[in-house]
Subunit: 540 residues, 2 copies
């Protein structure tokens, strides 16, 4: 067979040649929508590569992006790797301390930054030891106002760039194309590389019927930030398949997401449950009918999606709601929960149960659940840590000794505890570190939380371990009430009884505390270590 | 990213683990249908590998198969490459001289042969210089009756084989997994290798929505023989996606194909136009309603599909008919003709025109049309030779100097002449060698043939070049009439007038001759060199 390398350049060429008239719809301010064709996008991408080479980008140079979801960020997604450099997508929600760490640790030399985000970077610019140039993205950039030194305007660079630039044709598919850092429970964020090959294969997998089924007729909305695991790979894949893509710009709110879904007749989208909760509330409170009939698949991942959320979208609004699972380390798609044909004659309840799991691994990936005794059986009850292997799974953290523990024996150890049904569907039951070990047995904090959140009085619930002299650990439920005026003793009793109906006696928490909100990470995941800190006294 | 190799073993593992209960339906005689689960199939495949190693198969050993489409052939499709050996799919329709040549040229050491096909091999066995063992496939094989020396029964070998055998885990994706020979216009057939990587990527591409969209819910019927370009890759891909697969056994006729499509509720199938013509005739002559509503996509390739055929399937029987293009050298999928969204508001006639072209290249492939002046524009009229490049395109003929001409400059030169529309749709207009060069201009024999075949009186038509003192070449039409009793002078006049309405004057053939049939290759393609030989006198 020909030695054809799987590199991103071919995605760009394909979009330009075969889908040149298709559109990228990009929100660059709260009131304006910018539309650009793939043909113009490809031309601008080549100019960007030429311009970046003009300010010092070479093969292997790390070029940071500090930006929301818009067409310029997408241009950077291709211009940097197709020129043989590495795009480092910086998470704008990190603390300044972590931000400084990852830019210096990755040795970024150039950073492309949104005009409105420039002040954040400006405040730490003197601590950035490797950055030589900032390129400021925006419609009408005022460079002086950014306070950045050595900064240039993206659009001015493009205007002056060589329009005859051609991307190199000798890239190797195993070259690094991108990188992201992922937050750790303790310590600094950990960086992973994405190769051209990994991104190409991951993108292809999104086009499979059994996956997102992404294709030319789709209108794909990237709700996940492009600085978070490449917006789950949707922007890359949409270019390859020539899908219309919608990039919703800065400060996405559920209202903006909902508006753009309706206005642009979005067919496929993916985001975290927090966003979908927000969208659901807007739908339920809307005084006018909202037409979302264009949506073919809505993917929810990054945190557990309660059954009530799935049911509301599917039954009330007829929007196919699909749960998925992935990590920054996994590009990110690992699993999706799509019904297998054998589930067709299951009861509605069984199907909902399956739908609320994370499903089965994508083609080309392997997963297994491992506990102290080895690989666990597919019995729907034995818990084990989820391990993943495959061509778009990272094999190391960049210059980081935490690699040793996470990437043992050729598998990524996710730290997520799961069970697997006889059909091969995986259900996450906890994080390794959040699992409650009571009297030698495991109790799933997530199962308890999900049960609590189905109770009418409960807005959110997090369950954490409380040290115990006899049982080592016992569960403590931290509950956010919908109505904070109710009598908390009454409701506490009600909730404990409610749990007792559904769980073995020893699973029922010893105590319930009421809190104002559950602390969350930048992507909406419960931050249980922060919750533990807040409740430190109780847990002594 | 992890260094995970793209090898066929993972397809087998996936089918066994996630789709173990799904079925392979295999016709092993004209009256019986054998059903086997993927779980049993995987177990038998491991045993087959063990058994073949027992009779001398090592890494890199070429193991021939001489067989129809059935579950044992599918077992060989995986057992041989997953063990690190190479499956050589022998075309049972080759002349004995060519068969002897390719077995010796490939240096096959073992041949798996259908019991009913054994006599063919027995007749040349003493000329086979490298074959040490035959393994005879069948339900109840009588080895002695096969007349093969050193022959063993497939089922007996399996019964005695090691059921604890495990496939090696250290295969490299660039290892050869399979090989096929393709007939040449002159000389012996030419052999190409398929690597694990090539087959895996080709299989994935069949799962894309824009391609076959193959998935777990499909019931995939391989009409193309498994000895012909791996049945267009459908058997490999169906294992990966866990699709039910139907293998229609020996001596497939249109009647068998139609019966099995209806009985098994087939959803996806692919074959040559000759088969679909036959199926269409049966549909039109049937005295009872035939239910083919399960069919989601029917692919036709290997030769040009006339518009009338497409129209009849789509409009009369509501069966989506999709034209594709590929070669033995290309695994084989190169292009498919699926409507792009920009064609949605085209007229029915324009859409049919697009539908009758071969469409656009699959993701990961590149094509271009080349003539003496370079790459031709997408203007829908300039002709050029179709060149193909990509990860599942062969890069050489095995030990064959014809490699030099066919694989120039990193591209496969297909020898097919085509035009490309502004939308990127490719239309084949001729073979390089069949193109008529008249007065320095090119005339497409295929365009003339297609036009002739839309005339009511014409069953088939082939147009070839006739030497001419002034114009170098002029077209000669060779026509098979539906009704051979008609006055041929009248009809000749009618046909010439008919063509004159649709073509420039200098395209209209100088002469029409009436023949009994157009000679065809084993896969139903017109054999114009044979036609030229038959008409030698006229062409002097």
């Amino acid at each position: 067979m020909m030695d054809t390398q799987l590199v991103l350049t071919q995605f760009l060429t394909r979009a330009e040649k075969y889908y040149g008239h298709k559109k990228i719809i990009s929100r660059t301010s709260s009131t304006m929508t910018h539309r650009i064709t793939y043909r113009d996008f490809a031309q601008r991408t080549r100019k960007l590569a030429s311009a970046l080479e003009g300010v010092g980008m070479k093969r292997g140079t790390k070029v940071g992006t500090f930006a929301w979801n818009h067409h310029r960020h997408l241009e950077a997604y291709f211009a940097i790797p197709c020129a043989g450099a590495i795009i480092h997508m910086l998470n704008i929600r990190l603390s300044l301390e972590h931000l400084r760490y990852i830019i210096n640790h990755a040795e970024d030399e150039i950073i492309l930054v949104d005009e409105e985000l420039a002040p954040l970077l400006a405040s730490i610019q003197h601590q950035l030891t490797t950055v030589k140039t900032f390129v400021v993205m925006g419609d009408h950039v005022d460079i002086a106002a950014t306070k950045l030194q050595n900064a240039q305007s993206y659009e001015e660079l493009l205007a002056a760039a060589d329009s005859s630039y051609e991307f190199p044709t000798d890239l190797d598919e195993n070259m690094n194309a991108g990188m992201c850092y992922t937050s750790a429970t303790t310590g600094f964020p950990k960086g992973v590389f994405y190769t051209h090959r990994g991104i190409v294969l991951h993108s292809l997998s999104l086009g499979l019927v059994e996956s997102f089924g992404l294709n030319e007729r789709d209108i794909a909305l990237s709700v996940v930030p492009m600085f978070h695991a490449s917006a789950w790979g949707l922007p890359f894949a949409a270019v390859n398949f020539g899908s219309t893509q919608v990039l919703p710009g800065p400060n996405m709110t559920p209202q903006i997401i909902l508006d753009v879904m309706e206005a642009e007749k979005v067919t496929v989208t993916a985001g975290v449950p927090t966003i979908w909760f927000g969208v659901l509330q807007l739908l339920e409170n809307s005084t006018r009918p909202i037409d979302l009939s264009s949506i073919r698949i809505l993917v929810s991942g990054g945190a557990s999606s309660p059954k009530g959320l799935i049911q509301a979208f599917e039954q009330k609004y007829n929007i196919p709601f699909t749960v998925g699972y992935g990590l920054t380390e996994t590009s990110p798609l690992v699993t999706l929960s799509r019904y297998k044909s054998e589930m067709d004659d299951w009861s509605e309840e069984q199907r909902l149960e399956a739908r609320s799991m994370i499903g089965m691994p994508a083609a080309l990936l392997q997963t297994k659940l491992l506990n102290e005794e080895g690989e666990v059986p597919w019995d729907g009850k034995t818990m084990g840590e989820l391990l993943v292997k495959g061509p778009w799974i990272a094999d190391a953290y960049y210059k980081d000794e935490r690699t040793v523990e996470a990437f043992k024996d050729g598998w990524l150890h996710t730290g997520d505890i799961a069970i697997q049904t006889p059909e091969g569907f995986i259900k996450l039951v906890d994080r390794t570190k959040d699992l409650i070990k009571s009297g030698g047995e495991w109790i799933s904090s997530v199962d308890l939380e999900n049960a609590l959140m189905t109770h009418d009085a409960v807005a959110e619930a997090a369950v954490i371990a409380m040290p115990h002299p006899t049982w080592q650990e016992r569960p403590l439920a931290c509950v956010v009430l919908k109505n904070k005026e109710v009598n908390s003793d009454d409701i506490k009793e009600q909730l404990l009884q409610y749990l007792a109906q559904n769980f073995a006696k020893w699973w029922v928490p010893d105590e319930i505390v009421f809190i104002d909100e559950v602390p969350k990470t930048s992507v909406g995941k419960f931050q249980k270590n922060q919750l533990r800190n807040q409740l430190e006294e109780l847990l002594q």
